[in-house]
């Protein structure tokens, strides 16, 4: 394990969320001093249980409102996970979506310019703004066709950071994530990913719903995603670039449903048509071409889909009550 993080001061925005807390735990294990900044919005991925018992310092603060200066002063690195990621939420309220993913990012940018002008920053971006793929797998040159306001606001946030990197000379890396899953995922509903509600239903002994079924997805397991964020920060050649980050080889949703049931040792699901009112945000099949990131860093996913699903369900089984 690399010891480059030993003694480093690191800020993780969205640090009480699913991926954010995973990054916090990994950094602590490597000897870093970690501050997790999180708005703890109830409709986001944050959960106090995600950092319980950890030496991570949790600061409850909203990027859109709080004085960010004290938390940015002198940090060595930033993992920038704070954001609104709900597609349905952005359709219902695109204004708040833009405030979080645009205005809030500009506030963080200003605070970091003052307090840590050269700290490396890894930004959590999304495959979402590619929209319905025109070809598969989707590389970084794929046209941008956001299917909803969240795709636009996330694109703006990423482009602000890449621009900041060019103009200010800050090392910035943006990772365009595919669907991620694992321990600490929001499972009470489908706001973080459909797989969350699948886990919940299964663990509660209820059938889960598969919308459509033929669509392909390349799921990325928490530990692999966390490793990718650390590699991105550790690799100078990544600076200034936006990379796709995929996961395990693509499977259809029906194959995934069967794999989830197998990992749990049983369970049921029902299939239904993709709801008509969600059709505009149905992107069909997706899997990422992430060869650029693999080439730049040597990263590759280490956890198979079957193993990741098993680990996830094993983790949630005794803790589900903390996540409802």
């Amino acid at each position: 394990m690399s010891d480059v993080w030993q003694g480093k001061r690191v800020l993780v925005t969205g640090g009480a969320g699913f991926l954010g807390s995973g990054i916090c735990h990994a950094l602590v294990a490597r000897g870093a001093s970690v501050t997790a900044l999180d708005s703890m919005r109830p409709d986001g991925g944050a959960n106090p249980a995600n950092l319980a018992g950890s030496p991570v310092q949790l600061v409850v603060a909203d990027l859109c409102e709080a004085d960010l200066a004290p938390h940015c002063e002198g940090v060595d690195a930033v993992f920038n996970l704070a954001g609104q990621t709900s597609h349905a939420g952005s359709l219902a309220d695109p204004f708040t979506d833009l405030a979080i993913n645009g205005h809030g990012q500009l506030r963080l940018m200003a605070a970091l310019r003052a307090g840590a002008p050269k700290a490396v920053l890894v930004h959590a971006s999304t495959r979402q703004f590619y929209g319905r793929p025109l070809y598969l797998p989707v590389d970084e040159k794929h046209p941008i066709n956001p299917p909803d306001p969240n795709g636009v606001s996330k694109l703006a946030g990423e482009q602000y950071w890449l621009m900041e990197g060019r103009v200010q000379g800050r090392p910035v890396v943006s990772l365009r994530l595919t669907n991620c899953y694992g321990p600490r995922l929001r499972v009470k509903d489908a706001r973080q990913t459909f797989l969350g509600i699948w886990f919940r239903r299964l663990l509660e002994g209820q059938p889960f719903e598969v919308w459509g079924g033929a669509q392909l997805r390349d799921l990325a397991y928490l530990d692999d995603v966390v490793a990718a964020f650390l590699r991105a920060a550790e690799t100078p050649a990544c600076a200034g670039r936006a990379f796709n980050l995929g996961g395990s080889p693509p499977v259809s949703l029906l194959e995934l449903a069967a794999a989830v049931v197998a990992a749990h040792g049983g369970g049921e699901y029902v299939t239904r048509e993709f709801p008509a009112d969600r059709a505009p945000i149905d992107i069909g099949s997706f899997h990422a071409d992430d060869t650029a990131f693999r080439a730049a860093t040597g990263w590759a996913p280490a956890v198979s889909l079957e193993e990741g699903l098993r680990r996830s369900l094993d983790w949630f089984r005794p803790r589900l009550h903390d996540y409802l």
Copy 2:
């Protein structure tokens, strides 16, 4: 002249500005009933003189604050010119820049969805977010590298509208404009384009400054740009697309300076290095590949650079006091 605009109700946002007022006048000449909505922000392109004596109804209202419903109800077409376009302004205050180009656009979108759900909308976008060109001429596939916050907010605004078109079935066309010039340009300073302050200095008998000089630009004359906006709205095949819009064949800034002096019948300029504090937003040479728009619409610029400069200076000469 096409009579498709006869009796049509048209909303022009930013309608008291340079291009917006030009579109208003063209629509009035074609028999349309035109409402110009403009915030009249003093640091923008709006000028009451731009619509003086015209039957255009001017509504002073800010997209970020006003009740937009009454102005959107039942319109047949929208030309969407309202926006912050100052690069330096966006560096000084990226928050207001995003509020105008992001939040304000979302408010307009909501009002139009309620009041005119299928009205065609032509959005004024910009070449600015391509950043420093990686190749010339720049086509629509060129990578996006905004050099400043304004490039990001303008990208977001365009992508919101294209997304709205896909999701709501509204015909939306985005025109990514190069440097435009002509009568009613903001000439009191360089906030709209460097050519504005060149015109002012020349007409006041003062030398104007050329920053750099070797950079190429393809300038677009007002009448040609207005014609392009109307063609975009009139051509169903344009719906859902973003097009580059260029102008006359590219010239260097030094060639342009000489042409401006010749059009005025004399004058002086001085050359200086591109200021170091503006270097991050210096994009070098730019000229657009707009063959896609020409192919879709049959549009081509009709006014030569020499003729456009002469017409511009002749227009401003007796009216300069209204523009200072």
